[in-house]
Every structure is written in C-alpha cells, then in structure tokens.
Amino acid sequence: MSAATTTNLAQVVEDAAAHLYVWALKDIPQDLRDALAAARGRETSRTGIRVLETIHRNVEIADEQRNLVCQDTGIAVYYCRVGEGFPLHPARIYAALRAGTERATIEHPLRSNTVHTLTRENTGANVGYRVPIVHWEFVPDWDGLDVKCVPKGSGSENMTFLKMLVPADGVKGIKRFVLDSIVGAGGKPCPPGIVGVGIGGSADYAMHLAKDAISRPVGTRNSDPLVAELEADLYELLNETGIGPMGLGGDVTVLAVHVEHADTHMTLNPVAVNYQCWAARRASAHIAGDGTFDYVRDS
C-alpha cells in the first residue's frame, strides 16, 4: 500500500481505523484463502464440498463487487502494539480508533451492531460505552505503532467457553474441554474456522489470550515447542469429530488451532476457547513515529 507523511498522528490513526475496518470486512487475508482452498481439497463429504465451494464463490464475488464478505460487521476489536517512543498517548490512540470506527460505519454505510446491554437500544455507529475493544501491548525501545483490526462476528463470539480446570486435570483435561467445546458449538460459529485457546494466567487473562490467538495468521505456530505441539494435537483431534463445514458433517471442522499461554498459579489450570469463523477478517497498519504508514492485509 501507499505511504504518506503527516505530523498529525491522531488523524493518521483515525484514518487507519476507518480504512482497516472496511478493508478487513471486504478482503480476507491470503493465508485464510489458502487454508480454505486446502480445506476444499481434503473434504470428502458431498455437503461439505458444496459448502466450501459456496464459500469460495462468495469470496470471489466479494472481490469482484467490492462487497463485504459477510454481513456481520461485528464488534470492532483492535490489537495495538505501542512502542514506548510513539509520540501519541494510548488515550489519544483509543479516541482515534473510536472516531475511525464511527466514520467508516457512517460513510460506507455499515450495519451498526452495538447496543446497550440492558436496554438493547442501538448506540449508533458501531461505537458505544467501552466499544470498540482494544488489546494493548507495550514495546520497549521502539517508536512505532502496529494496529490490527479484527471485526468479530457474533456467531463465532457466542461460541466462547471458559473452564477453570484443576491441576490434576492436566493437559488431558485441556484437550477434552476444547474437544467438548467445538463439538458442542457444532455449526453455529461458521466452521471451518480458527480455534483460539488461552491457557494459564487467570480466568480473565486466559480469555484475553484466547482472543489474541484467533488474531494470528493461519499457518503460524506458537514459538514454545510444547505449546506448538498442543496446537498440532488439537488440530488433529478436532478434525476427527466429523462436525464438518457449517456443522453439516464432513472432514474439515477447523482450519487452525492457535494456543497462547501464560504462567499461572500452582493451583490454577484455566482454559478458554474463543472461536473465529471461516471469514476470519483482519487487516493491519504499521505506523511510524513520524507518521509514515503502511497498510498490510496479511500480518
């Protein structure tokens, strides 16, 4: 993508959010396209093949007509990696992300999904109290900002599960809980998608890690070999359940399993599962401290 220079960093971040939100909804990343094509190649059930062919056709039509891949414009989730030397304070970064989300929703226009949790009244333009949602990471010795936009659809988000296992449940307990969660979810989260698993930390942090896990490109592996082995084991197990594309039966139930972990208390063994649908939409911006930027679909 093009690069430009500006001194108004808040405006650069707002523009990035407005661009990334719409872009993510229309143009799914290459790693996902490749994974869906591979899924089509290995599926043997007739219904499963039909579903995967329809998904492929849908992605082509979205490309040709520059339309949204899926109608669910989601809840806007951003992942920010902020360098310690980035000249804009996170409070201003948040305000800019919010403004960009709102602008994209009104200008496109996009369906607004955000409602008050109790009254269920729509709050306007995909922004509301504590929405959008931002995951923050702070990076020493760097003056840049990476923003990744992941519009998260409700069909997959509703298929989120947490269990506070005990230490004696071990890795076996973790695997069993993930298996039960994905079989129980059936066709509801639009399989085949990405299963995000967060283990360790605390209850809230395990869920936070599961959400981090779904934002990784398909094909990436956890850098810890033990965790990467768990990812591979879960991938094999889940694809033997027969749930299949859209839960209608078949060989391909998940495209990937991503696990993120944190160390935990000696008596805790939390496991969180967050599902991401086949239309695992995401788009990123890399913004330097001087305001130059690049938009990147596949990171």
Partner: protein, 195 residues
C-alpha cells in the same frame, strides 16, 4: 442427496414433504427477514406482525442497507445469522402464523424437530458468512416494517435462485444436526481414550 426448487410462500404444504434432511434446495419468490428483536416483539411483547406469514419462508437476518426514501431501502450486504438463539419461537411461528420454512445458519437444536414435524415445517441451512453471494440473489427489498428496530426489522425480499440451501431438519422428523452430533458423541468416546 436430491435437488429441488421451491417457490415461497408455498400454497401446497405437500410440496415440503418431498424434502428430506440432506437434500439441496434452491428457493424462488419471497423471503421474510426476521431476527431476535422482531420475534421478541411478536411473542414476548404480544404485537401482531404487520405482514402475512402464511406459507412463508423466514430468513434469520439483519441486513446492511442504504435508505433511499421513506420506508425504502437498497441492499448493501445481506446475509444470515445463527438460528439457535431463536429456536423457541418455532412452534408459535408455525402454529399461529402458518410459517412453513425457516432458514438460517448453524441449525436448530433437537427441540425444533417435533414441532416442525407436527406442523409440516422445514429448516434450511444456508452457508453462513456467504453474504456477498446471498446479496446477489436478492432482487429487491420490497417492504420493511418496524423500522425502529433497525436493522432487526421485518423485511420482505424478492429472491431469485436463492441458495444453495441444505435441508437441515425435514418435516418427517429428520435432522442432519442430530445425526452429526450423535456420530460426534460416539467419536468423542474414542478420542477421549486416546488423550
């Protein structure tokens, strides 16, 4: 896996008896868009729907639209949401309003099987997330009611070659979802033993 074409609203309920779980269907005619809040208003708040639902095909949707005039909307992107949240309205829709088909993604749990069989109703599975394609099959938004629930209004769409849809639950007590879950439950026992 037989293939069928069905026009809605259906006038002859026997037409739906030809469909079996797993069959593929293309739909013509009219589709009524409905969602959580629409059905909460009908069944929990007791408001009569201002559209005729006899013989209707309901679609679980809340579309992206552009307003082009009073009560008039153009499609931007129309797709289908998860059905399971709305399963408890199935019996009322069939019994009270004569709805004959419900289309969504992800399926209905087993509690829908008995009322659908008794009332001659069918559940159609669409490919969830395939909204760009679905939008091309919707020719026009003909009517909208309860606009204040935007986007969860009651919508009337005219469709052409709407699909492919898979019969998820048929009017004979068959359910693809129950079959898949039963097989998975047996498989899980084998997988647990390997952990």
């Amino acid at each position: 896996m037989a293939q069928h074409e069905v026009a809605f609203p259906v006038t002859d309920p026997a037409e739906l008896l030809k469909l079996r779980a797993g069959d593929e269907v293309i739909v013509q005619g009219h589709v009524i868009g409905i969602r959580d809040r629409t059905q909460i208003r009908i069944f929990d708040q007791g408001q009569e729907p201002p559209m005729d639902l006899a013989g209707a095909f309901l679609l679980h949707t809340a579309p992206n639209v552009r307003k082009v005039g009073p009560g008039r909307y153009e499609k931007i992107c129309i797709g289908t949401t998860t059905s399971a949240r709305m399963v408890r309205f199935t019996e009322g829709l069939g019994e009270r309003y004569g709805v004959r088909a419900i289309c969504g993604k992800g399926g209905f749990p087993d509690e829908a099987i008995e009322p659908m069989q008794r009332l001659g109703m069918v559940y159609f599975a669409i490919v969830g997330g395939a909204a760009a394609l679905e939008t091309t099959q919707i020719e026009e938004i003909e009517e909208v009611a309860w606009e204040e629930l935007m986007p969860e209004c009651l919508w009337k769409f005219r469709v052409r070659d709407f699909g492919p849809l898979i019969v998820g639950i048929d009017a004979h007590g068959g359910s693809l979802y129950r079959d898949v879950q039963d097989r998975a439950a047996r498989k899980l026992e084998e997988l647990y033993a390997r952990l």
